[in-house]
């Protein structure tokens, strides 16, 4: 499909009505994902990532604008789209608890019309690849979250899709399973230049490590788009500092501090781990003295290389997690 984007949207808007209230989940989203790309959508919970995925996977209609997958309109050409896509959602509980892993996968393969023998070969190969051979004949209801997600990955990839949508696929998974899934997704893309992956995540490390390009989405709007390097370059003139503070204090006052563009903070081992993005070095002393004045003791302090999260903080004024 030369000249055609694998995934594309123009002025895509989606609103939901609930009890007389109108919520704008997506606002004029323009997106173009090229064939062979691993494209990331990075954003916090409620940013509109899942809504976007639902539209691309033909589960939801746009309110206005259009979305296309492999050149086909998601609103009108579902028959052309569905055979070539598949999806995985984080925390997904698909399948039937009374069936085994193999039986569940076989069942889903039938919904894509895969001949029995071919389906069996693909299932066996992917079961092996996902390292769950020992679980193949166990009932799916007995699996752990991580084991279940490996099965979901197999479910999506065994049907031979050209475009895969991964919606927070590593949500709540352990390091090993997350790593296994990331590695597989990367390899799968490399095997065939016609394949495309759209991944949503709120793990910036995942986006940084995997994605060719990333769109940062916040409150239903794409606020930045580029390669991880390009995005990080956007804040090369700014200063990012990291610090560990004990005891935990409220950092709300940073919002009104001159020179501070945004911050993120999370509790780690009884301490507060914070990152602050500033216009330049001049605000550093105000931030440090502010912490001390509010009873916080600075355990460690470092000036850091900019991360995707810093980009996000700069653009939205808040952290991802």
């Amino acid at each position: 499909m030369p000249g055609v984007y694998s995934i594309e949207s123009r002025s895509l808007t989606r609103t939901f009505k609930s009890k007389g209230e109108v919520v704008e989940a997506l606002k004029e989203v323009d997106l173009s994902v090229r064939q062979g790309e691993l494209f990331g959508l990075l954003g916090p919970n409620g940013a509109g990532k899942t809504t976007l995925i639902k539209i691309f996977t033909t589960l939801l209609l746009p309110t206005s604008g259009y979305a296309k997958v492999a050149g086909h309109d998601v609103a009108k050409e579902v028959k052309q789209i569905r055979p070539i896509i598949n999806m995985v959602t984080g925390g997904e509980h698909s399948g039937y608890g009374l069936l085994t892993v193999r039986e569940n996968l076989w069942m889903f393969s039938q919904f894509y019309g895969i001949p029995g023998k071919v389906a069996k070969e693909r299932i066996d190969s992917l079961i092996d690849r996902m390292r769950i051979t020992h679980l193949a004949d166990r009932k799916i209801r007995t699996l752990s979250t991580g084991e279940r997600q490996r099965v979901n990955i197999i479910r999506a990839f065994m049907t031979g899709p050209k475009i895969v949508f991964l919606d927070e696929p590593t949500l709540g998974l352990d390091v090993e399973t997350s790593r296994l899934i990331r590695r597989y997704v990367k390899e799968w893309l490399e095997q065939d230049g016609e394949r495309t992956v759209l991944l949503t995540t709120h793990y910036m490390m995942e986006a940084d490590e995997l994605c060719d390009r990333i769109a940062i989405i916040n409150d239903g709007e794409i606020v930045a788009l580029g390669t991880p390097r390009e995005l990080k370059k956007r804040i090369q003139d700014e200063t990012a500092i990291g610090m560990e503070i004990s005891p935990e204090i409220d950092l709300g006052w940073l919002d009104g501090t001159k020179g501070v563009m945004g911050y993120s903070a999370k509790e780690e081992g009884g301490m507060l781990s914070a990152r602050v993005v500033m216009e330049d070095d001049s605000a550093v002393s105000d931030v440090l003295s502010g912490v001390t004045a509010r009873g916080g003791r600075i355990i460690s302090f470092y000036k850091d290389e900019p991360t995707l999260e810093d980009v996000f903080v700069k653009l939205t004024g808040r952290g991802l997690e």
């Binding site: 039937y96 608890g97 009374l98 069936l99 209801r141």
Partner: protein, 271 residues
Amino acid sequence: MSLKSSMWLQYQIDANWTRPLVFVVYNILRPVGAALLLVAMFYVVTGGYMGGGSLAYLYVGNAFFMLIAQTLFFVGWVVHDDREHYQVLKYLYISPMSYFKYLIGRTAMRFLLSGFALMVLIVLGYLLRIPYRIDWLLLVAVFLVGWAFIVGAGLLLSGINMLTARHGGAVGEALAGIFYLLSGAIFPLSILPQWVRGFSLALPSTYWFSLVRRAVLGAESEEVMAQFTTLQVVLYPMAISMVLLGLSYLSFLGVDHLTRKKGMLDMTTTY
């Protein structure tokens, strides 16, 4: 969570999908349908004659059976609904309240709500000229004893459900079917084979239906049960219900251990 809260929760879950009036209509149509089915069977066999002791017997028995059927139908569903639909069983379990007590509360509310349907059926009975001779004191006993044994049986069923897969809505109805068949609800016990009657007399529901007839029709026309005094038909089911409640509690403890041992508190068994 107190008993009152779980009763309130039951009402909310049962009724919050619609307006109260529609909810009442839904609750009434099913029992009315069941009553009409029996009346139609009676009508066909008698060649259109609508009266006599048999009609009163079956109509009143069937009307009060609705309390059992509707409550047990719900109980057959609640554990699976908590576990697989709303997936809250594990959270209810780890909360400080007793899940046993929670089930008592929800079952009790379902029993109360079934009272609407019963009232409608009683009123409809006037149209069929059912010769009511209501003893109000005995009627109170009917509800107290009925509640005790239905809750006891329901809890026993809930315990079993915690160990089984979800098989649609037939589970509670099936248990209600035992009471329907063996308790002389719509036909005299003497119709049953001799060897089955022994089981019938061990069921609290048999005495309860006898109590219902005494309370609503003024006398017991059923030959086997007429041998028992009114006091006996109050005390027997009460005593059996106490045993049932004790047994359900004990079995619940066993089930509690088994479900945790086998990790069945959050299983989903849909197919």
